[in-house]
């Protein structure tokens, strides 16, 4: 029992330490934003890598998410003869929740882990030390461009995922429930308000920020050679996934408390 408590204590201490590192890195990254113009080329490179590299996964995920959403809700709504309203459900769900979350999950798996592996490998091969010895801040040189580019890429990808998800839903609505395209899209348009889009994009930005910071923090604190890089990568994926869900809840609750959804409806 005492051992269990000691382990829990050590885990909690470690978690607090890593959270502290991530927050310090966030503060340093914000300070490094003044070099955005100087690092513009690298930001564009990283942005291209994040969007282009994640495109196949996000497009497929979005298409099938919209399709599954339409199929699941359509079967229930059809019982009440309300299948024409599938467009409401799919559009609202995609833009408010599923689009940002699906994108974030894909980016956490693809880019967060990649950041941890890259920076972790650089750390164990003394490349990070070499930068520091040359008076080049790893935060300005490596972290800031990755954070900025992942946030930008996630915004672009979320918009794309929302559109493709709605289209996926439309295909199923038309083919399985005989809903006319016009009806589906008119309903989708009716339900969507500007604040739904903004709220979804705000979430996407926060998820990407969290994923990039977790990946970079884990990478920069890697020790123990190749095995250490593996551990950092694994921890990044797990923590990023959990953070996406926690942040999603907090942001949705926050929006609800501020009356964002009621005000716009």
């Amino acid at each position: 029992m005492i051992q269990l408590v000691a382990r829990a204590e050590a885990w909690f201490e470690n978690a607090c330490l890593e959270a502290g590192r991530a927050l310090t890195l966030l503060a340093d990254t914000v300070r490094a934003l003044r070099e955005v113009r100087l690092r513009f080329g690298e930001i564009v490179n990283q942005c291209f890598r994040a969007t282009y590299g994640s495109l196949p996964v996000t497009v497929l995920t979005a298409l099938f998410s919209g399709a599954i959403l339409a199929l699941g809700t359509g079967m229930e709504l059809a019982k009440y003869g309300q299948e024409a309203t599938i467009g409401y459900v799919v559009a609202a769900s995609m833009c408010r929740e599923m689009g940002p979350v699906m994108t974030a999950i894909a980016l956490a798996g693809l880019m967060g882990s990649s950041y941890a592996a890259e920076l972790g490998t650089m750390k164990v091969s003394e490349e990070i030390d070499a930068l520091e010895v040359m008076s080049i801040s790893p935060v300005r040189f490596l972290v800031m461009p990755r954070v900025v580019s992942l946030v930008a890429a996630s915004l672009a990808l979320t918009i794309l995922v929302n559109v493709i998800g709605i289209v996926g839903g439309a295909i199923v609505s038309v083919s399985s429930f005989g809903v006319a395209f016009d009806t589906y899209f008119t309903n989708a348009q009716d339900i969507l308000k500007l604040h739904d889009i903004w709220m979804g994009l705000l979430k996407a930005g926060c998820f990407a920020l969290s994923t990039a910071l977790v990946g970079c923090t884990m990478g920069l604190s890697t020790t123990g050679g190749a095995a250490g890089v593996g551990r950092s990568t694994q921890k990044t994926v797990v923590i990023s996934f959990v953070m996406v869900l926690i942040l999603d809840y907090l942001l949705t609750k926050g929006a609800e408390l501020m009356g964002v959804f009621e005000a716009g409806s």
Binding site: M122, S125, E126, E127, D129, A130, L131, E132, V133, M134, S135, I136, F141
Partner: protein, 281 residues
């Protein structure tokens, strides 16, 4: 063990040869001062009161068995590690009392050749060497090219400028690392095993470069190495570490003629007992 008095009231292991001559101190003191450094990793102490000075313009070779704290000492000099006790002064400035900006300025005076070269794998050879210039001085691109190609020519790698680090050998990486370390004409050079893993000809080339830098640029160099032939070629003074402290400091001649069995065993690579050979051969 020499019973003569020690300097700075440090442990007996510190030899009088550490004491700086008034002449060498006269202009502006040592380039680097390591003062009573203590460092432990977990429960394992690595440095246990290391005190050593790198004099201006000299080449000091630090030798010692594995785990005696040679590389850890280098990392303290550039502030990559913080000591548990003691401090490091560069040109008289305590680097652990300096803020990040000041530490950055101090680091600009230092060139560091890492054991594995530590080249950035995402940049090609040219970009690796150009990196410190592009990040700090930011001269026109033509000037960067001129300086980088000059340094690459110095390490005989002008032809490899466009290659990526994974396309070149370990020895070539080390030479690129050296070109990068000297691109900003540092006042102090730190070498971590500069000839390890190199063929004899390339090792000789690196040794010649170390000597050349000292001669032409009056660079103060601290070289951590196990390669005794290099030590006897390039060193002005030698410091031997043992159990995290300086065991002996002296000139090449003092080491060659030392009666200390530990010194003899180390410099002649004898695992059984002391051997007296002509180190110059």
């Amino acid at each position: 063990m020499n019973p003569k008095p020690t300097i700075r009231g440090e442990p007996d292991e510190i030899q009088p040869s550490l004491r700086l001559s008034p002449a060498s101190l006269a202009p502006s003191g040592p380039a680097v001062e390591l003062v009573d450094l203590h460092k432990a990793f977990g429960s394992k102490p690595v440095l246990r009161g290391l005190t050593l000075d790198l004099l201006r313009g000299e080449t000091l070779c630090v030798i010692g068995g594995s785990g005696t704290g040679k590389s850890v000492t280098l990392k303290h000099i550039v502030g990559l590690l913080r000591p548990d006790r003691g401090t490091v002064r560069i040109d008289g400035t305590d680097i652990f009392q300096s803020d990040n900006g000041r530490l950055g300025e101090i680091r600009k005076k230092i060139g560091f050749l890492f054991q594995g070269a530590a080249l950035l794998n995402s940049l090609n050879v040219f970009e690796n060497v150009a990196l410190p210039l592009r990040e700090h001085e930011r001269p026109p691109e033509g000037e960067i090219r001129r300086q980088v190609m000059e340094k690459l020519a110095l390490v005989d790698l002008a032809d490899a400028a466009e290659k990526m680090p994974d396309e070149i050998s370990g020895g070539m990486k080390k030479r690129v690392g050296l070109a990068r370390a000297i691109i900003r004409n540092p006042e102090i050079m730190l070498y971590d095993e500069p000839t390890a893993g190199l063929d004899p000809i390339m090792a000789s080339t690196i040794n010649a470069l170390v000597l050349d830098l000292q001669k032409k640029l009056k660079v103060s160099s601290l070289v951590v190495t196990h390669d005794m032939s290099s030590v006897f070629r390039i060193a002005d003074r030698i410091a031997m570490l043992l159990e995290g402290r300086v065991h002996k400091v002296g000139t090449k001649e003092e080491f060659r003629t030392s009666e200390d069995t530990k010194v003899q065993k180390f410099i002649y690579g004898d695992s059984e007992g002391p051997l007296r050979r002509d180190a110059s051969r």
